[in-house]
Amino acid sequence: MVPLVYFQLLSAALFIIGLYGVMARRSAVLIIMSIELMLNAVNINLIAAASHREGWGSFVNFDGQIIAIFIITVAAAEVGLAMAIILRMYRNRATVNVDEIDLMKW
């Protein structure tokens, strides 16, 4: 069996890849995608922990899976809303590159 820690490391790796993506990419769409990677990393972590957590606490604890379900839901909503905003942005400014989106600064 693969010990929990490797799943956690996998999750951490995916998380930092997403993290890097958010910080390094130009397109808003790609940034949203990177955030999705991060959320998936969260889910891996949660589910791995939930699966390895039998007997802890007062009841069989699979809260991690529940939380993961919520996260997937929220992530979907988030993507939808973010895309709408990006679309509006594109319509107004004809770009979705975040380094051109700096009307406001300082």
Binding site: L10, L19, V29, F62
Partner: protein, 162 residues
């Protein structure tokens, strides 16, 4: 066996992820994302979280990727296929590496514990979801509603009065 699966899935997960953040083509990025997300679903499977795997494939693979592809298509610009990273990417890499070190160290020091993964049944899961977690569940539905209304208001074409 599970080790083998794990490594394969991990390679796909991370590879897809890396593809998303490295590729210069947005559409490719979306496809890489798909690869990664599906691989994640596989990871769920080896953790015996079948329901989550299902949800993952349906929502991510089905819905989110589609939305993303739509967005990409709708916001197409001339440079889109060649979109590159912004200027601070080296810094970003360092920062990400830093976070990775912290997280990795935290997990690694936590120690390697041997235990067999197990998972609740569908009915246990749903029971919990609709009793104990009913309130977050309802709130989540409101979140979806808000997102929906918001997306409609914001994205609807022809909003150019005022």
């Amino acid at each position: 066996m599970s080790w083998f699966l794990f490594i394969i899935l991990a390679v796909f997960t991370l590879g897809g992820g890396l593809g998303v953040v490295i590729t210069r083509n947005v559409v490719h990025a979306a496809l890489f994302l798909l690869v990664s997300l599906v691989a994640v679903a596989g990871v769920y499977l080896i953790l015996f979280a079948e329901f989550l795997a299902l949800v993952q494939v349906l929502i991510y693979g089905g819905a989110i990727i589609i939305v993303l592809l739509f967005a990409i298509m709708l916001t197409r610009t001339a440079e889109y296929p060649y979109i590159s990273d912004n200027r601070q990417w080296p810094l970003a890499a360092i920062a990400a590496a830093g976070v990775g070190v912290v997280l990795g160290a935290a997990f690694w020091i936590n120690g390697v514990s041997q235990s067999t993964p197990n998972s609740p049944t569908f009915s246990e899961l749903s029971n919990s979801l609709f009793t104990r977690w009913a309130i977050p569940f309802e709130v989540a539905s409101l979140v979806l509603l808000v997102a929906l209304i918001g997306a409609i208001i914001i994205a609807r074409a022809g909003e150019d009065s005022r």
